[in-house]
Symmetry: C2
Subunit: 217 residues, 2 copies
């Protein structure tokens, strides 16, 4: 377990926890450590998620599989990231998504209710505060995504997206961590339609861009 201390200390869940307090917290939290080889399933949609995972090493992918068997990557979680926390604390019904190890992976599984008992330990409240912050920020991000997807025209989706992104990065021009296809997927539109909308907006003087570097006027 000690081998994962550096990863844990840089995770959002253990943010601001000092090294000396980490061991007692972990001793009380009693995470279960499991390893997975590349391209194996960690959780299957339909299971009950009684715990949530922290990626100690490797990378996992959250997948949505529709009735026809089409796979969609919902999210990628890298080292020090956590997954399943919303399902674990909502404790409502089976998982609607599956989780795969995309590389050789080690996951620390935490029992949600056990973390609540840590409040009396040194920095136990910090840990709970981190957990609340993680869930709260996820809600805000999803709220923003809903706001974008609620726009009916591609140009409006782009503008809403860029306005939020400009606030987040607090600088112009901004660099988007997406290529056109990924950006189109995020906005819920066709890549070619997005390209057309972007060049028309550039022509109209609303925005400027070159590759992933965008300016909003």
């Amino acid at each position: 377990m000690q081998q994962f201390y550096p990863v844990l200390l840089k995770s959002t869940l253990f943010r601001q926890i000092t090294a000396v307090n980490l061991a007692p917290l972990l001793a009380a939290a009693q995470p279960i450590l499991k390893t997975f080889t590349a391209n194996t399933r960690i959780w299957q949609a339909g299971e009950q998620a009684a715990s949530f995972g922290l990626v100690g090493a490797g990378t996992v992918q959250i997948l949505k599989e529709d009735a026809q068997g089409n796979r969609t990557i919902v999210a990628t979680v890298a080292e020090a990231g956590i997954f399943g926390e919303a399902y674990a604390y909502a404790s409502t019904g089976p998982l609607p998504v599956s989780v795969d190890a995309s590389t050789d992976t080690t996951v620390l599984f935490f029992e949600p209710q056990r973390l609540l008992n840590l409040a009396h330990l040194p920095q136990g409240e910090q840990l709970l505060s981190n957990l609340l912050q993680i869930l709260a920020r996820k809600s805000l991000l999803l709220n923003q995504k809903v706001e974008i997807l609620s726009q009916r025209k591609i140009a409006d989706k782009v503008l809403t997206f860029l306005q939020l992104e400009a606030k987040r990065q607090a600088r112009q021009p901004m660099f988007l961590p997406y290529n056109r296809q990924e950006m189109a997927d995020f906005l819920g539109v066709e890549r070619s339609a997005l390209s057309a909308a972007l060049s028309s907006m550039k022509k109209a003087g609303l925005i400027d861009y070159r590759k992933n570097e965008f300016t909003l006027f």
Copy 2:
């Protein structure tokens, strides 16, 4: 304050808290009680939300105001409901929405970090568990909304929406708490286009409905 005990006891925040434990928890949480007359502003978009509110009496509305001054009702919060918890615990930037009292209203404002100190009190952990559950379930609801809005065709939005609703209500037929206009707003489409899609889906034998009573085949 005692007058609000019945409301608090039926709120999701104090769910499962017994009457005898309520007073000590409130004494430590020290919510600030404020009253508002109908149609007055509680929070203005742009402010920092340092606390979150629990509606002790009345009803409040969460509003989004765009650059042109158009108001959109994002949510309505009734007695015993809470608002602003995600912004309070995310502690990230100014409010993107405003909050109005739609009737004469009393609000209890809680300091987010103060609730973390309650863990050692009787049922203090229950309170934190409730808080985590509230945030977690909000994330799941938003996830579902994103899933619906990501569908590009109205028929697919309707099907996704009805499938999720059928799971939630666990019975057929199901009753939707929306009229057509509200349903169209929720799905992010035009009312007339929704009506057309619904009747075409009924003709195709995919669904059946009469007013708000829907069946999914």
